[in-house]
Amino acid sequence: MNTTQQDKLITQEYSLNLGPQHPSTHGVYRVILTLNGETITRAENVVGYLHRGIEKLAETRTYAQVIPYTDRLDYLAGVLNNIAYVQTVEKSMGLDVELRAQYLRVIFGELSRIASHLVCVSSMALDLNSFTGWMYAFADREKILDIFEMTFGGRLTTNYARIGGVSKDATPEILAAIRTFLDTFPKRFEDFNNLVSYNKIFIDRTKNVAKISAQQAIDYGFTGPNLRASGVAFDLRKKAPYGLYDRFDFEVPTLTNGDSYDRYMLRVLEINQSLRIIDQALKQLPEGPIMSKVPRVIKPPVGETFHQIEGSKGLLGFNLVSDGTVNPSRLHIHSPSFVNIGIIPHIAKGLIIQDFIAFIASLDFVLGEIDR
């Protein structure tokens, strides 16, 4: 601790332990702040409180048994994790997936993305104490989770995608429920925006707070909405379309300021684009089987496969090393949240606690993905 003497007023820096149990660290994230008054002079990330050894566990399971573990990575967007993993296995084996299954993956993947982004925007509203806004968005997210429950039983632990297809088909009732959601949600979301996004106090709290320039974002390996908020139009769904994403007409929203408000707003804009994709996918959805013919025992050929998708937080990659047996030899998960929090110590310097809270809320990290 350095003591400074300014005009005979002796002040002392002190350290404040934010987390792992703190209302706004969104899980068990811990940061050790060194404070001068309320101004942060140093911040140090501490992670590892949610480590479950998923990568190691995968080595003792068969390829299909790993799928439920991926739900627990970014537990706010379980379907996207499932898809990323099964696509990696499919890529390593050269499997083809039925068209209907691919469309269902898009629909439920994008619903999952909306749910995840809703959690981000609403918990940011909550962190700035707009309690009512939080409730509004969570009620909408609840409807998505209800659709999930109707389809495959799980709400957060989705376990939806299978190697070569998906686990459950969407019945007409489920498709009708999704259609109802698409029809009713935009109006409710407008209410939420009027309450939170365009609120003067909210904008005051987030505008020009914790600015991250495009160069900084690239240097720190940002991906996903955080990168796009800094002005880099990089979206894997457009740049290197995987699955069926080249069949849909959607935009990649990009904002230039790179502050907390832009990171927040970008998610709001992305929700609208996801709605567009789901709408088109519902219209194009063909009839047909949902599982293609896959071998009884899944044994990818010896070798290394890397596949990544545009997750809700950024690029979610799986690196799979196969030794020809029924178990993966090594499964590495490249999680966007882990990369994204790397910038916190750098940006936090000079922020006051209130701005820091808005900053980490806008980064939208999930601890399940950081600690794995």
């Binding site: 209302p23 409730m135 209130q354």
Partner: protein
């Protein structure tokens, strides 16, 4: 009632100091009951109202519409252990919630609840109210300092900065009313509004009063001292059981008393046609409380520097302007009336 009590006791040969003491005790217990029942009701109303805003149900299990929820909560808090964390400043830590609660109770002594329904008819009632409401600051600083917790300390420091700043516009906004009524006695102020409520003459002061009193009450958007998302619970992070309940009760007691003050000085107090005065009083007070709740559950929390800016650069100059304007208007009014005639 005092007379009746004294006479009854005189029959049992209790006179002098002891009789006075008993009268005081009776009043105190009645006041305490009144406040606690009302505070519990306000807590319940707050929870139901915020649930209504948020498309939830709110507490609805205990009693009709969950009205007894606060009672159950209170019983739970009373039965809980009081925890003293390591290295706390014992006396400061122990006394803070008590001082907080007592200063909240004392405010009620001068407030008129209806025609003639006032405990102490004090000539400087408004001054008394303001003086005692500012002692809350001390107790919160004590709690923040005594807890030996950095979150509490930050909360305590924020409280001092905020409450001392906002006391100024709160006071200044009352000046216009005092000038119009020509008295600090709250009953006189109410009676001066026989023909016209002061909110009509002092709309600007009313708005300033509402904003400043929200800051005094530490409610959103000015709830920085106990900002949950930043400081966990601010100054009462370490408190548990009944000590926490004291802070909680004091918070809602202050909400109730400031709503009464607002009604008294701006909304004509207990005055109103047809119905008995206490009905008008209740309706108006709960109206003001609902206004506070509406604001709380709509707005996010303001930033520290913006809050200070709002106070020093906006509220205080405006309230000073309001005082000058009121003074000029009072002096000029007779001449204008003559001119019109």
């Amino acid at each position: 009632m005092t007379k009746f009590l004294l006479e009854t006791m005189a029959n049992f040969a209790i006179t002098g100091f002891f009789a006075d003491l008993i009268v005081v005790l009776v009043y105190f217990v009645l006041l305490l009951l009144f406040i606690i029942i009302n505070v519990m009701l306000v807590v319940w109303v707050e929870r139901r109202v915020c649930a209504f805003y948020q498309e939830r149900l709110g507490p609805n299990r205990v009693g009709p519409f969950g009205i007894l929820q606060s009672v159950v909560d209170a019983v739970k808090l009373i039965s809980k252990e009081i925890i003293y964390p390591k290295n706390v400043d014992k006396w400061v830590y122990f006394l803070a919630p008590i001082i907080c609660f007592i200063s909240a109770l004392l405010l009620y002594t001068v407030l008129p609840f209806g025609k003639g329904l006032v405990l102490v008819k004090l000539n400087v009632g408004l001054l008394f109210f303001v003086a005692f409401s500012s002692t809350t600051t001390i107790s919160i600083l004590m709690a923040g300092w005594g807890s030996n917790n950095k979150y509490s300390l930050l909360g305590g420091m924020r409280t001092v900065a905020q409450m001392i700043s906002y006391e100024i516009p709160l006071l200044l906004s009352m000046f216009g009313v005092i000038m119009l009524a020509g008295s600090l006695n709250l009953q006189d102020i109410v009676n001066a509004q026989e023909h016209r409520w002061f909110i009509n003459l002092q709309p600007l002061a009313f708005i300033i009063f509402i904003i400043a009193s929200i800051a005094e009450l530490n409610r959103a958007p000015f709830d920085l001292p106990e900002a949950e998302q930043e400081l966990v619970a601010g100054y009462h992070t370490e408190y548990s059981g009944m000590q926490f309940a004291f802070f909680y009760l004091a918070e809602y007691a202050n909400l109730f008393s400031l709503s009464i003050l607002c009604t008294t000085i701006f909304l004509g107090g207990y005055l109103g046609p047809f119905f008995p005065s206490w009905i008008w009083f209740t309706v108006k007070v709960y109206g003001v409380i609902l206004l506070y709740m509406w604001i709380r559950w709509t707005l996010p929390r303001i930033r520290m520097d913006k809050m200070m800016k709002l106070n020093w650069k906006f509220l205080i100059p405006l309230s000073l302007l309001n005082i000058v304007g009121t003074g000029v208007a009072i002096k000029a009014w007779p001449y204008i009336q003559q001119l019109v005639r």
